[in-house]
């Protein structure tokens, strides 16, 4: 049996009001890819932050190569050979690749020798297939390349144990595949890779062993070859979860178009064209999924339709009524509801109470305001009813929204948007960052809305979600819609390739 590179025993970490790790055990062998699987909030990030010295555990021990260690800073962990590739990259955008790589290196000469560093970086990138130009500046690189820099950084520091936190979240399927090859190459050399994820498919394809966390505790460690997606899923959530296509009580009626987008173009925040002549329709009760890697114009599309961003050309209409470009109030008046991807900043006023947030959309109506003054009691009654109907778990309706969990925050947002009885719903990444239970609840709401005849535009990076909910799938890439296919029997491979920019004709060959 191979020796264990890292052994964490009985780890406990408490934060005010939460026990993030409640007696976690983890054992990593040299030369393996070890997946750390769990829902959001299961304690994966906390555990890895303890292993990299960012947090100190309240209880428990960490052993590296059989020796007990106490890390009081990331430097200690790095010196012990443990390096972390963060989900949100820790890179200095204005520095070059080489400068980022040598950052924090102790010792060495007073002055930096850029050429020497570049040579060493090149050696490493050749060895592991991590192609990147050492003299390029970070802001010039794609997200996939930036991730390679993150990996090079820890390799350069001689890490024997690499922790990757949700590394594929930002990658195209093709980039992800090349990352997996790199991870395998590193494991074959005797390094250990800890792969944190909540995507079962990836875990199955890349790891040797899997440790599953749930609610801050270790559920168990299994050999990947001896388990299945279904088996891992039930370990992860404590019950079995279905991943099949949703069956609709009331199918879409595409003969009636509720939302029509005609050749819309728009700019992003920096004033660069990010949408190019986008046209799409959503039928009555239809769920149209927009697939794509983040940053290909999805956010701009959602904002243009909901009136938060002006278009530079083109028209948007609901039924036969035009929506005024860049006028959110016009969009609301036409019956467009919007669940933005950043729910706590764009969707809700985070430090306001649940009841005030629920009143934000209909505060102009006579039911809750009179002579421009708010009727507090009516607002509270409305909130109490909505909290009940949408099953929002909150101490009371005056609790600030920011204190609720992610799933409940999303329920508040959905409750508000649906209570306006919309004709169209724009939902941008509505389940991102939620735990499995909340994801199910949100998806049920979307399907229920569609059953009632609401046209839903579901923008999501989660292909599984789109495949299981949508009637039709659009694929966005660099501000254009490259593909439009029925979801029933859609070819994942083809969608994945289109998301990465390969055009449809090429795929067909």
């Amino acid at each position: 049996m191979s020796q264990s590179a890292v052994r964490m025993t009985g780890i406990v970490k408490r934060f005010p009001g939460v026990v993030a790790n409640d007696g976690v055990d983890l054992e990593i062998r040299a030369g393996e890819v070890h997946a750390l699987l769990g829902e959001n909030g299961a304690g994966k990030s906390t555990l890895s932050n303890i292993l990299t010295g960012l947090y100190r555990p309240d209880e428990g021990t960490v052993e590296v190569d059989g020796e007990q260690r106490v890390f009081s800073s990331p430097r200690d962990a790095l010196e012990a050979g443990i390096g972390m590739v963060h989900q949100h990259f820790r890179l200095v955008a204005t520095f070059t690749v080489a400068e980022n790589v040598v950052l924090g290196e102790s010792g060495g000469s007073l002055f930096m020798n850029q050429d020497e560093v570049a040579t060493r970086v090149r050696e490493l990138s050749d060895r592991y297939g991590l192609a990147v130009d050492p003299s390029a500046r970070i802001w010039q690189l794609s997200v996939g390349e930036q991730q390679r820099v993150e990996i090079l950084k820890v390799l350069y520091r001689g890490a024997k144990v690499l922790i990757l936190d949700e590394p594929t979240a930002v990658l195209t399927p093709i980039e992800a595949r090349s990352l997996f090859a790199t991870l395998r190459a590193m494991a074959d050399e005797g390094r250990s890779v800890i792969f944190i994820s909540h995507k079962l498919g990836e875990v199955m394809s890349v790891s040797d062993r899997v440790t599953v966390l749930r609610g801050g505790r270790t559920v168990g460690t299994v050999n990947t070859s001896e388990t299945s997606t279904r088996g891992l899923a039930s370990m992860m959530v404590g019950r079995s979860v279905e991943f099949e296509r949703v069956v609709r009580d009331n199918p879409a009626d595409t003969s009636v178009t509720v939302l029509r987008v005609d050749e819309i173009s728009a700019n992003d925040d920096r004033g660069r064209a990010s949408l190019h002549d986008i046209s799409l329709t959503v039928g009555k009760g239809e769920i149209v999924g927009v697939a794509g890697v983040a940053g290909n114009g999805q956010r701009e599309l959602a904002e243009v339709i909901s009136g938060m961003r002006a278009s530079t050309s083109g028209r948007i209409s609901v039924g036969d009524e035009l929506v005024k470009s860049g006028k959110a109030r016009s969009a609301i008046a036409r019956g467009i509801a919007h669940v933005p991807e950043d729910r706590l900043h764009t969707g809700l006023a985070a430090s306001h109470s649940v009841e005030d947030n629920l009143a934000l959309k209909n505060y102009r109506t006579s039911t809750i305001s009179k002579f421009r003054l708010l009727k507090r009691r009516a607002i509270r009654e409305q909130a109490t009813a909505l909290v009940e109907r949408y099953d929002v778990k909150t101490p009371n309706t005056t609790t600030p929204v920011r204190l609720l969990s992610g799933g409940n925050v999303q329920k508040v947002l959905l409750a508000r948007e649906f209570s306006a009885l919309p004709k169209v719903l724009i939902a941008a990444s509505p389940t991102r960052g939620l735990d499995v239970g909340a994801i199910e609840a949100v998806r049920e709401r979307l399907v229920a809305a569609a059953n009632e005849g609401v046209g839903v535009l579901l923008i999501s990076e989660d292909l599984d979600e789109i495949m299981s909910l949508a009637d039709r799938i659009l694929v966005m890439y660099e501000g254009r819609i490259l593909d439009d296919v029925p979801a029933e029997g859609a070819d994942r491979e083809r969608i994945g390739l289109t998301m990465g920019g390969s055009n449809v004709q090429e795929v067909a060959k």
Binding site: P16, V18, P74, H86, V92, T94, F95, L103, E105, M112
Partner: protein, 319 residues
């Protein structure tokens, strides 16, 4: 030839620009670490009054007294900014508020005036002022003499510091790490760089340089302690940091430009040129406003290379 008005303006621009540059160079180091120091004005005044006190009380040769006075001024400036560092870095208070508080607390009608009172330094000319030197006996060389060879020791040191600081920031590992702390403290921390230590050191160092700038006022420009004698130089220095894109070399040029504006009224008046002195005195501040408006437009901010984490306290445990 050396009484040519342009020669006089340039040589006095360098003279008046010197304290601005010291304070601005301090600002560069502080801001590069991600800390915004709006307490420069107050720090300069404390440095100035402490320098004047030292000059009145420390005996010995002229060189010794002046050097000690400068060091005392630097030490005082460093102490004041240690307070700022504690507020901004350890207590994580709002940096704008903390800086303004320091300036009000230490500034013109605050601590610096109080010290001047109890130390009885006000209106007493310092016995050993910082004088201009005659370097290599070249001070009377046509044109270049007054500009390059008849300046104060502190001016020559500042030229050296400009080079040292440029090399430090852009060529050394420590400088790279300092810039990383100001750009992305999360990155620096993850790479094992102590964000707290870097910020403390450079905030204190910046305050010490501002203190030296203050000493230049009380020992060279007037050279007597007068309450509130920096008259807003600290604010100009803060604008200069931005004006110089957080780079020592450009900031040096900017300091001399503002130095020229500051000296213009006395130079022109001495020449009998008939221009309102009030307008001339206001010029540096009008320029400051213009520069700040221009460079704080959204476009400029993205292009100029302001440290991305400037003014943001760093917290590791986000829960």
């Amino acid at each position: 030839m050396n009484s040519n008005i342009f020669v006089i303006i340039i040589s006095s621009a360098i003279f008046y620009g010197t304290p601005l540059f010291y304070a601005a160079l301090g600002g560069i180091l502080t801001e590069r670490s991600g800390v915004l120091n709006l307490g420069v004005e107050g720090t300069m005044l404390i440095g100035g009054v402490s320098g004047a006190w030292a000059c009145l009380h420390i005996g010995g040769s002229a060189w010794f007294t002046v050097t000690m006075s400068i060091l005392v001024g630097a030490l005082a400036g460093g102490l004041v900014s240690t307070l700022l560092a504690f507020l901004c870095i350890t207590l994580k208070t709002n940096q704008t508020v903390a800086g303004l508080a320091i300036t009000i607390f230490a500034g013109a009608v605050g601590l610096s005036s109080y010290f001047a009172n109890i130390w009885k330094v006000a209106k007493t000319p310092v016995p050993r002022p910082i004088r201009t030197m005659d370097v290599f006996g070249l001070a009377d060389t046509p044109v270049l003499g007054p500009i390059l060879f008849r300046q104060t020791s502190l001016t020559y040191v500042s030229w050296l510091l400009a080079i040292v600081a440029t090399v430090y920031l852009f060529r050394t590992r420590v400088g790279l790490q300092l810039r990383a702390v100001g750009e992305s403290p999360q990155t620096a921390d993850a790479m094992g760089i102590s964000v707290i230590r870097y910020r403390y050191i450079h905030t204190i160092l910046g305050g010490a340089l501002a203190g030296i700038g203050g000493v230049f006022y009380s020992l060279a420009i007037v050279p007597t302690w007068v309450d509130g004698m920096t008259k807003g130089a600290g604010w100009i220095a803060i604008a200069l940091v931005i004006f110089g894109f957080w780079r020592p070399s450009l900031t040096l040029l900017g300091a001399y430009l503002f130095g020229a504006l500051q000296s213009l009224s006395s130079t022109l008046k001495a020449r009998g040129v008939d221009i309102s002195g009030d307008i001339l005195d206001a010029l540096p501040f009008i320029m400051t406003i213009v520069v700040l408006v221009l460079v704080s437009s959204r476009f400029a901010h993205r292009r100029l290379g302001a440290p991305a984490a400037l003014g943001v306290p760093y917290e590791r445990e986000e829960r």
